[in-house]
Symmetry: C2
Amino acid sequence: MSEIAVTERTRVKRGRKIANYDRETINRIIDEAWVCNIGVSAAGQAMVQPTSHWRIGDELFLHGSVKNGLFQQVMKSETACITLFLLDGLVFARSAYHHSVNFRSVVIYGNGRLVDDPEEKRSALDTMLEKYSPGRSAEARPPNETELKVTAVFAFPIEEVSAKVRTGGPNEEPEDMALDIWAGVKPVTSVVGELIPD
Amino acid sequence: MSEIAVTERTRVKRGRKIANYDRETINRIIDEAWVCNIGVSAAGQAMVQPTSHWRIGDELFLHGSVKNGLFQQVMKSETACITLFLLDGLVFARSAYHHSVNFRSVVIYGNGRLVDDPEEKRSALDTMLEKYSPGRSAEARPPNETELKVTAVFAFPIEEVSAKVRTGGPNEEPEDMALDIWAGVKPVTSVVGELIPD
């Protein structure tokens, strides 16, 4: 267990019982998720985008077009809020109120570092491919100079971060337990199928 | 096809070829997704939260604790940016650069309307249960006054909205097609399993 320091922004206020600040737990959620959501404020208006991500050590990496409006805000040092969410189950309680979902989520606040060193940039993009299929970075035709130039890569510190993990069956009011109403969990899983060749 | 009017905020700038403004397509994505992400700006800082949602007509509904910090910003008429994302496949190209994902996404900008009419609020929460399991709202013990009071329900107009839909195999540079590198799509699906009774 490597506990992460809590800040005012990352202190979980709602759902404190399921709050988690363990780095290994957080890293596992980041690695299992295929997509995150990144939000920034631009002229007082929040902009949010879903985008692929990957992790190297204690940094979360994103990439996209250098012309992407949201990433341009990141380059202007706007602090981003990045969320990751894995749905693990639909939780059916005897009361409408206690219906819930089992999930693992992460919220990160941080400023993106533009990865502009050519070697670090190539290496970071290789690591993204390895997430999609181990060995892929040695198989695919590497990016050329133009492809690298139009791609922006950002690294965000996984430092100001919190997680929430809900598992198990429904929470119920004691007086509801005698009701003749079905309850339990329907597990939800994300499945990657076999390759359909091009 | 019911085409939605495009605004400056919802005009897709990157990936124009996969932009979609068809209301039926957008509604299907919203209905299939279990969770959205909502972002608001608070004192110049974006806050983003994953949360369950459901749809009634041309409005997207969210609910949560009345004490939720983000929802309190919504109550202050902060315009929200809501994203939905369904991952359909990992796309392997012969070039590193053209690796991609198949997905369906929606981005909505709008101001939340607090649903405070008791009948509308009960009916909206019933509709959420129906999304999780048809018939559930008639089975579960209905919310009591206290449970209703601590739950805030918001409706967002699905009006200032855009979608992106990517399908099919990899885009490739013509000169890469002769390379002896495997390519194709690994489909990704979300599966809801059988009930594990409580």
